[in-house]
Symmetry: C2
Subunit: 300 residues, 2 copies
DNA sequence: GTTTATTGATGCACGAAATGCATCAAAGTT
DNA sequence: AACTTTGATGCATTTCGTGCATCAATAAAC
């Protein structure tokens, strides 16, 4: 391992960069001004370039100093977090696991995995967070969460994705809808049907997938109304304004004023995948994957 | 600024954690074994928990030590990079800017912005990378790139998105196609047309957007064939197997054996947005945005 | 224009802290 | 049972960082 220059004094530099005044900073660090002056000199010398321009009257960051400050302020925050993470582990908590989930995993997959996970690993702290599929990809890449339940498929070299379920889709209609008379519903039955869906902002990924399924069958997805929440969606359907399409895991949460029928078609399914960063080899993640994969129902 | 414990000795710990042997590591660091032993003791003491289990015969990382090693190996890599970045700045290079782009920005937007950027900021190194929209979101979040041209719209609190262009879509048909007889092409003309598109893996975002436009008009997007590259796409269209849909910026790259017509509809357009992390305030990014926004054609 | 106050840098003596050497106890190997 | 290798520890030595006093440069005050 190559030894990195100046590491000892980075904190000192950061403190100085904050108020750009040797005497004040020195006082704040309970240090003599001369000592501070020399620390910075030493840091600059070991780096090989200047971080600060100093006249006898004022101090300012050089371009390089600004760059160095931005980067290292961030890194020191990261170091602080790494200590806290390790301390949690040392204190018997086997660590922290941050799990993201979206609506389709919220009713079955996530809760039952969580139940078994808590039993198997009571000392791992779990932090749950509701994030939609698109946001999860970003949160995972950022390291804001460790693992996420999202709408699949998801394919990316930096991530591992494990398909947990593939559930059929259902239509939800008003109670007296003509479609209910049919013995079985297939996609072509939906041609020309007025369809009500959640709006793009909230349901982006799901709607894209639906669009894809429909166009795969050569059927226009005729969205006549959008709703921003599930209650409104249910109400609009019950009132006879159209039908909606729900994955199996959510139909239990529809009101009794609507009827549901499964769409019988191999492509009309919603897949849920568990995704984590390939580089994240923490035991918490591995343990969770182990548990979660046993919960997967209707797995591929 | 709170002072962070143990920072001086983290590198030493990392070196030791790599071969888990005090004597060998000490030698590698040109240090006495006793000194190394004490450094680690001191680090552990300042952290308040053990990092290593040591018997007189073998050394192993504790759980906390593993966690600490994983996190800090990463951080030290980051520190090394921060030095190099600052050094580049110090050497007169005004820094490094990593730009990602996708196909639709590759012909006009990105190259002309790049031209003007190099003239205005000759000392900023630019690294260009071809990444598709979905991958860019992840690369941005990871900090692998600074800024990206992607298919819009894109809305996320962590990012700033600037719409640069909104270009019309065109159909590309074989030379003798009946649609060419119409005075103008509107979306409803495409009902029932056999459409050939790039496959999902490569064209995911574009296809989703197309799906969305079509379903917005209540038209089925009837994809009869998929191709994995542009040449094949062009060939299949020319051979009369169907038509394809291209944004304006790419029609110049189609062969002479196909004809193009603009789709006349306000929603049938492709938007290109420039996206960067809101937290990334580096002057390179700001400078690039400044230049790129002046290039934007047909801006909103 | 002179004085005064404040800035960061520097010479020097001191002291804390890290190092190297020698040695020890523990544990596997022969 | 003798030997080797492991990491820990006591102690003398050296290194290195610190505080104090002071300096030169510069801006503000008079």
């Amino acid at each position: 391992m190559k030894t990195l220059p100046g590491l000892e004094n980075v904190q000192t530099f950061l403190a100085l960069a904050q108020d750009l005044n040797f005497r004040r900073t020195a006082e704040r660090l309970h240090l003599d001004q001369s000592a501070l002056s020399r620390r910075i000199q030493k840091l600059e010398q070991s780096l090989g370039f200047r971080l600060l321009d100093r006249t006898t009257r004022e101090v300012s960051l050089t371009q390089a100093g600004q760059q160095f400050y931005r980067d290292n302020a961030e890194l020191m925050r990261g170091y602080d977090e790494s200590i806290q993470a390790a301390r949690r582990v040392a204190e018997g908590k086997a660590g922290l696991l941050r799990v993201a989930y979206m609506a389709f995993a919220a009713t079955e997959l996530m809760p039952s995995a969580m139940l078994r996970f808590r039993q198997a690993h009571p000392y791992i702290d779990v932090r749950l967070e509701y994030i939609r599929t698109q946001g999860q990809k970003i949160a995972l890449a950022n390291g804001d969460v460790d693992i996420g339940y999202m709408i699949g498929p998801f394919d990316h070299p930096d991530f591992t994705a494990l398909q947990l379920s593939s559930e059929p889709l259902y239509i939800a209609t008003p109670r007296n809808h003509p479609l209910l008379l049919r013995p079985r519903i297939v996609p072509s039955d939906l041609v020309g049907q007025a369809i009500i869906l959640g709006n793009m902002r909230e349901w982006e990924e799901y709607r894209w997938r639906l669009n894809d399924m429909f166009s795969g069958e050569g059927i226009a997805l005729n969205v006549t109304l959008e709703a921003s929440n599930t209650l409104a969606l249910n109400g609009l359907v019950a009132a006879g304004l159209g039908i909606t399409i729900y994955p199996e895991s959510l139909i239990g949460f529809l009101g009794r004023n609507v009827e549901v029928r499964q769409i019988m078609h191999p492509a009309f399914r919603s897949r849920t995948v568990l995704v984590w960063k390939r580089s994240n080899r923490s035991p918490q993640v591995q343990a969770f994957v182990q548990v979660a994969k046993q919960i997967g129902v209707h797995a591929p």
